[in-house]
């Protein structure tokens, strides 16, 4: 079948691919099992995102501007739980983006903006894991990723929702602090608890999170 190209000259595309490779985001060291489990977990997290969106659109919406940012943190879980379990380069970006897509496809209030948020939050988390050379996915790395995901999130919102044109920088600052603290608790801590509970069931055997944790009988 004939048809046009895919946009942009081949050389710029190749250089983008090479840049991705340099960053280590080729998914080469992922096994198929890790990929599909990461995808399934991301889709499940997407359902959680969607449910939280319903709660937001009904109950949490009544909380006025800077203060509702305390409850945004749950939406960081995709970029934290998936890398916490699979522990591979790209897991944060993939987890958050896929989860965001699912919550958008199930229908929420923000539509295509969900994808923008998902990509930005996933990038925030991924950058921190990358800074640790993808060798550490617990403790400082996990909570650092949560904080940066939250920080990126409020930055995007300030721009997309024109907060800078409506509110004082003081109240945007309050929103930022609440968003980051909320991400640490509702994103980081919840991911750690969920990941730990899931590992204890034994289904994650063979994945990085369970290395050295399996009890022999």
């Amino acid at each position: 079948m004939s048809g046009g190209g895919s946009g942009g000259p081949a050389s710029s595309r190749d250089s983008a691919v090479r840049a991705g490779r340099r960053l280590g985001l080729t998914f080469k060291d992922w096994s198929t099992r890790e990929l599909v489990i990461a995808a399934a977990l991301s889709v499940a997290v997407g359902v959680i995102f969607w449910g939280w969106g319903l709660l937001w659109s009904s109950v949490l919406q009544t909380i006025p501007f800077p203060f509702h940012y305390a409850f945004v943190g749950i939406w960081m879980v995709g970029g934290l739980l998936v890398p916490y379990i699979v522990r591979r380069p790209g897991a944060a970006l993939m987890g958050e983006t896929v989860a965001a897509f699912v919550s958008m496809a199930l229908g929420n209030q923000w539509g295509v903006l969900t994808m923008a948020s998902g990509i930005i939050q996933g990038m925030g988390a991924e950058v921190v894991f990358a800074a640790f050379r993808w060798k550490r996915f617990t403790g400082v790395a996990l909570y650092g990723a949560a904080a940066l995901a939250g920080g990126f999130s409020i930055l995007l919102d300030t721009f997309v929702y024109s907060y800078y044109a409506m509110y004082s920088w003081g109240s945007i600052g309050i929103a930022a602090i609440l968003c980051i603290v909320g991400s640490l608790i509702l994103g980081g801590a919840v991911s750690q608890l969920l990941g730990g509970a899931l590992a204890r069931t034994g289904v994650l055997s063979g994945l990085a999170i369970s290395k050295g944790k399996v009890k022999k009988i």
Binding site: V36, A39, A40, P64, M104, S162
Partner: protein, 265 residues
């Protein structure tokens, strides 16, 4: 006998990546515009496009947007209380001691209609795109790694399984006489008791799917063939150009009429 499927609509036949690009560009334009009229016009236009080019009835487009009424109220209240222009602007009207200013109403209307337009754009996109086609197009046009793409598609297919798994777990709990608390407590206890079994079930199924994929040498070779290939046809570029042209024309016309304002500058 089932009736023959209706012919795919014009929007359905467009390349998903190009369609996505069009939605993103329109949404991006809207984030730079700070007046209620432009998003309102684009909202109506999207309704029309959804009706004529995607075959979606007006009701099916408007119905999922009801939650926005509440969002609108929340945005309005936030602006009445916290808009930074309130202190320096004259009051339009006082409700009790509450000062309502023009900038607060302007900002609330803008943001609300912007959200409505975003939501409708996404709705029309999602309803006129097969998820499978979108993923294939991301591989073929945007060079997404195909192992990631197919794994994601496998994960996405598990979505309906979550529903049936939930029913099974619920029935199992009921048979064993597990009590559910009340109100918020119930929500919490439910989440706690269902989340782990649901996730564990998903992980188990994903593992089995992965074994099946590996058995078929998925990802063993650097390149692969596709049963279906997403291509960008000249008609897709025409579509993208038309979308950009119409949006630019509307924005320019409203700006010349003195209605449109820009958020930056």
């Amino acid at each position: 006998m089932t009736p023959p499927a209706p012919a795919p609509s014009y929007l359905y036949r467009r390349n998903p990546s190009i369609k996505l690009l069009a939605v993103v560009l329109v949404a991006l334009t809207l984030t730079f515009i700070f007046d209620p009229a432009t998003p309102a016009v684009l909202f109506c236009l999207t309704l029309l496009v959804g009706r004529l080019l995607a075959g979606l009835s007006l009701w099916s487009q408007v119905k999922p947007l009801w939650v926005f009424v509440l969002a609108g109220v929340a945005i309005l209240l936030a602006n009445i209380f916290f808009n930074k222009e309130n202190a320096v602007s004259p009051a339009l009207v006082y409700i009790g001691s509450l000062k309502i200013t023009a900038p607060a109403l302007w900002a609330a209307g803008t943001l609300w209609l912007r959200l409505m337009a975003f939501a409708l754009l996404s709705l029309v996109f999602v309803k006129s795109t097969e998820p499978q086609h979108l993923v294939l197009s991301l591989v073929h046009q945007l060079r997404l790694n195909y192992r990631v793409a197919y794994s994601t598609l496998a994960g996405y297919r598990m979505l309906p399984l979550f529903q049936s798994d939930y029913q099974t777990i619920r029935a199992a709990h009921r048979v064993r006489g597990v009590k559910e608390g009340n109100g918020w407590l119930r929500l919490w206890s439910r989440t706690r008791r269902y989340a782990i079994p649901l996730l564990a079930g998903a992980v188990r199924k994903a593992g089995r799917i992965a074994v099946a994929m590996d058995a078929r040498a998925f990802g063993a070779l650097p390149s692969r063939t596709y049963r279906e290939r997403m291509v960008v046809q000249p008609a897709d570029w025409v579509f993208l150009a038309l979308v950009l042209l119409v949006v630019a024309a509307i924005t320019a016309a409203l700006w010349l009429a003195g209605v449109a304002r820009f958020a930056v500058g």
